[in-house]
Amino acid sequence: MNDLGQKKWRKIVFIYPRLQGGAVLAFAAVVVAAGSYFTWHIDRDVRQALWDVSLTAHYHFRSAYDVVGAAVVRHVGALLAGTALAGAALLLLGALRVRLATRRIVEAFRRMEDGDLSTPAGVTGPGEFASVGRQVDEVRARTQEIVGEVRAEVDRLRKQPLADEEFLGRWTALKEKIGRLAP
């Protein structure tokens, strides 16, 4: 409850496994790859440095960190920079795909608004975008079907010589068909 005594709505967190799951897997792959590369490289360099320093005549250090500290910081810095760059690239790529898929859906709606009911949306994209694209195509096909039926009925009413009673029956049916369009 807030200060005015109104019930606060709980924030709904929508989870689409194909959308968020795909993003999680992609970013996790970057983290795993970066972690593995880091482990392999730092192990090779640090072991070599410790081995080399063990062979010197005099030890002027208090701990192994004094020997390999700079290399460790350099490797961790490289890990940070590499992961940040790969993450940013992945994010931009994902944003681009989302943007392209959304643009195709929006363009499909605009074409339909302008009367073009024959061009498919052709949406390909991450996860649920393709599913929404298919639904947009179904909406387009459905609208095209109703408009086609209306057009055919108008044509029949205009061209066929019908008795008044039959004409009125078909006239009423035509109105019902038109009423089915986005009720």
Partner: protein, 184 residues
């Protein structure tokens, strides 16, 4: 068709993308900080004793460095991976929500039920989806009203004689045919 201008039609807003990127960098930096701390803790133990003891300690560290750094790497992967997973779920629901909403609205349309305009929550992305769908439905309804209005106008004239009624209806059908021609 009106061309899409990125300034007016919001797909993914820049602040949303930048905040996501910033959160990624923070997670990355925090995980790198943890791995640095783990490595510092492992390597900063003082090497005490005479030359031989230090020599053996260094060789010992050389031999056991791989398991230690692999453990640190695992900690990094688990921490960063979990944080990124939480980030993706809780930030990308601003994209998943509008998609869910659009799916329900389109299902509603296909089921032939009364179509309501699509509205997204505050902070949701892909607002151009709702705007374009609403514009499409508005246009369809406008056309439907125009067609029905023309037919009803003809029906009103049926209170006069039969010939006038039929002539008006034929005229309405001819107009309807013209109005329908914008759909292809």
């Amino acid at each position: 068709m009106t061309p899409l201008s990125p300034g007016r039609d919001a797909f993914l807003r820049a602040p949303f993308r930048n905040r996501f990127l910033l959160a990624l960098l923070v997670i990355d930096a925090a995980a790198a900080g943890v791995i640095l701390a783990v490595l510092y803790f492992m390597l900063s133990r003082p090497l005490a004793g005479d030359y031989g003891a230090v020599f053996h300690a260094l060789r010992h560290q050389t031999a056991y460095f791989l398991p230690s750094v692999a453990y640190a790497g695992l900690v990094y992967v688990v921490l960063a991976g979990m944080a990124v997973a939480v980030l993706c779920v809780f930030r990308l629901h601003r994209i998943a929500g509008p998609l869910y909403r659009m799916e329900r609205v389109l299902e509603n349309f296909l089921a032939g039920e009364a179509v309501r305009p699509a509205f997204f929550r505050r902070g949701d992305q892909l607002r151009a989806l709702a705007a374009s769908f609403n514009a499409f439905v508005a246009r369809i309804r406008e056309d439907r009203q125009r067609w029905l209005g023309r037919m009803e106008h003809a029906e009103r004239l049926c209170f006069q004689d039969r010939e006038t009624c039929r002539a008006e209806m034929d005229k309405a059908l001819a107009e309807l045919e013209v109005l329908l021609s914008r759909y292809r």
